[in-house]
Each structure stands twice: as structure tokens, then as C-alpha cells.
Chain length 187, copies 2
DNA sequence: AACATGCGTTCGCCACAACGAACAACCCCG
DNA sequence: CGGGGTTGTTCGTTGTGGCGAACGCATGTT
């Protein structure tokens, strides 16, 4: 009983290849040459007939100048706005912290975007997230002391910081009206 | 003078497979069974000896419950801070616009994080990025009018907006001292 | 018209990725 | 001491993905 093969990934790859190649303004032959693969191979790939190996896909991604994952992920939607104060609030914690989930991580995508408003007084300790998680933090207003335990840094408006989120870490507002953007990336 | 083969992706995949399998608490045999592949194949993959095709990798990603791209992305570092004003200033310091690339997208990663400071007066028109690109915008201070051509929205402090970045779009500061975070996501 | 240069497709060949069985090493229970 | 259950490894075989030549089809040049 062989299962009906899941051809979805192949279709995505085929579509992505055609899309990216068109965008780069390259002919099939030219792209094949640059990627160092046979154009026949590329032709079959764009026809979604085949099952490329990593080396081939990698060469194509490099030649196209796009990240690898672009070739194997599904498409996306259009426009959406969340006003300040709207959106699902996460700030059930202390009264001094209000986090708003701006962009959740749909299955397949892997990053959450939060806007966090905090008042001084209490540091918020965060449990380690799943391994591979990386957090990016950009301060909007006020001052923040944040980072992995023992490696905290103090940040002012405009400062950016990134650190591993799979270890214990914390955020602490040092000024009233502190607000920052937190991108949590589940690599 | 043929290429020394770029084994980097294979090493990443091998490491990712071992990591994710350990995280899932599965034995090699068990994972192979769940993924519907021969355990010998998986054994060789984890030894980075080989060049797997998409179908195989896909099955493994599904069995591991992780997005495909997890398996082909490089590891990550620990802590990094970029102070306001530091960092690679992205081009057009055309008086009214200063963009700072906070987190670049190395091959394999798939999102850039910018902090942009803008002054009113001139709208900045952005060329369409590669298809599939999605932009997320969070206003820190001031007011911004931004979005795809014809669908611009006006945003104030704390407002969040997301839209497709693969069509023509623009940003325009409406107040002095306007600053916002731009997450450009190449899904 | 004849020829050249680009395109994307199709075909036969061959290396190799995936398979499955057999393997050694280990553990737990009778 | 088996015997039955793991674990991950290493083999020989086979299916197939990638290769390169040849093809048909458009342009452009002489």
C-alpha cells in the first residue's frame, strides 16, 4: 500500500523556482548555468516532475540569491492593521506589563511579533522557550534592561538587541512609558 | 578545478536532524518508521554522508513536527546589541530617511529587521521585493503613512501594520522625529 | 534563403540515494 | 545461560535524479 505521495512541496518548489527566476530576469538556461546544474534538471523541476536533492536546490537558491527556505514554503496574504490598544492582549502578568501579540505564528511560519509596554518596578522573568528560539528587541521609548540571565544589557530608544530565547531571560523597564518591539523567532 | 563541494548545508541538516530528534525524544529507528523512510537512510543523513532529496527531508520534517526550513538553517549565536546610531546604515540617508539594518538575513535565515527614522516632507517609494515578502511595521514615535500603493494607512505610536512587500509600496513620515521598526519577512 | 544564437523540452546513460536485510551491541526478563 | 526486545550501524541491490547531447522552435544577422 504505497501512499499517494505528498506532492505539495514539489508544487511549491516548482512555483517558487518559476517565480524567482522570473523575478531575477534569468532564462532557464542561464540560471542552470549559474547554478552549475543541467538545464534539463531545472526544466523538470519547474515542471514539478521530480524530487530534487539538497545540493541541487541549494545551488539554485544561491544562484537566485534567495534564502533556501523561500523555495519550500507556501504563499501569503495581504494587508492588516492593528491599532495601538487593539489586538489580543497578553499582559495578564503584572499590571506593569502589557504585551500585545501583533503577528502570531501560523503553522509553517515561525515568528511572533509583540509590542510590549512596561512600567518600572518589577523585572519580568521569562522561562526558556523551545530550543532554537531567538529574540530580537528594539526599544521605542524609555529604557529597558533585558537579556539572558547574567548577560543583561541596558537599552535606550532605538537600541537593538538579539539573544537566544531558549535560556532563562528577563525584561525590566527602567523608565515610565517604556515601550519596545519584541520579535520572537522560533528558528 | 571543480568545486570543493559545499557541504555546509549537509552539516546543518545533519546537526538539525540530530538536534530535533533528540528534542522529540525519538530513537533513530522510531523516527525513520514514523517518517516512512529506511532507518539506514536516516543514519547516513545524520552522519552528513549523503545528499537527501526533498521528499525524504519533507517526511522527516513532518515526522519531527517542525517546519521544513528548520532543517536547512544554520545555527544561531548568543547575544548582540546594536546601539541607536550604530550599525550598518542602509543607504538613502537622503536627509529625511535613515534606515538601520539590525538583523540581516544570512543565507538560510529569512527576515530582516530594520529601525527607520524619518522626517516629514518626502514619501519614500519602495520597489517591490521578492515575491512572498511580507513587511511588518510597528510605529515607535510620530506618525507614518505607509502601505502598498493605493492601500496606505496612517499609523500612530504603537500601531502595527502588515502587508505584502512584493508589490510597490511607500513610507511617509507625517511628524518630526518619526521612528518605526520594520520587519521584512521573506517567507 | 541560409546561418547563427538564444530559448525550453525530450531522451539515453550512469552515478547515487533510498531501500531492506543482516549486523553487532546493549538491555531487561525468564 | 538463553531469548526477545531495543539501539544504531554496514552491506548489496534497485529505482531514479541529474547529466549532457540532441531536438524543435523562435529570433536576429549576413
Amino acid at each position: 500500500m504505497h501512499e499517494v505521495p505528498d506532492r505539495l512541496p514539489m508544487d511549491w518548489i516548482a512555483a517558487s523556482l518559476k517565480r524567482e527566476r522570473a523575478r531575477a530576469g534569468l532564462s532557464l538556461s542561464e540560471l542552470a548555468k549559474r547554478a552549475g546544474i543541467a538545464k534539463s534538471t531545472l526544466s523538470q523541476l519547474e515542471a514539478a516532475s521530480g524530487n530534487p536533492n539538497v545540493e541541487t536546490l541549494w545551488a539554485l537558491a544561491v544562484a537566485l540569491g534567495v534564502p533556501f527556505s523561500v523555495l519550500v514554503e507556501p504563499p501569503v496574504q495581504s494587508v492588516q492593521v492593528i491599532r495601538a490598544g487593539e489586538g489580543p492582549g497578553v499582559g495578564s502578568e503584572q499590571a506593569s506589563f502589557v504585551g500585545t501579540l501583533l503577528s502570531a505564528s501560523p503553522p509553517g511560519a515561525r515568528r511572533d511579533i509583540y509590542r510590549i509596554c512596561a512600567e518600572p518596578g518589577s523585572a519580568r522573568a521569562a522561562e526558556p522557550h523551545i530550543p532554537g528560539t531567538v529574540e530580537h528587541l528594539v526599544v521605542g521609548t524609555g529604557r529597558v534592561k533585558a537579556g539572558p540571565a547574567g548577560e543583561e544589557a541596558e537599552l535606550g530608544p532605538g537600541d537593538y538587541m538579539t539573544y537566544r530565547g531558549d535560556v532563562a531571560h528577563s525584561y525590566e523597564a527602567l523608565m515610565p512609558g517604556t515601550a519596545f518591539v519584541l520579535v520572537m523567532q522560533h528558528v
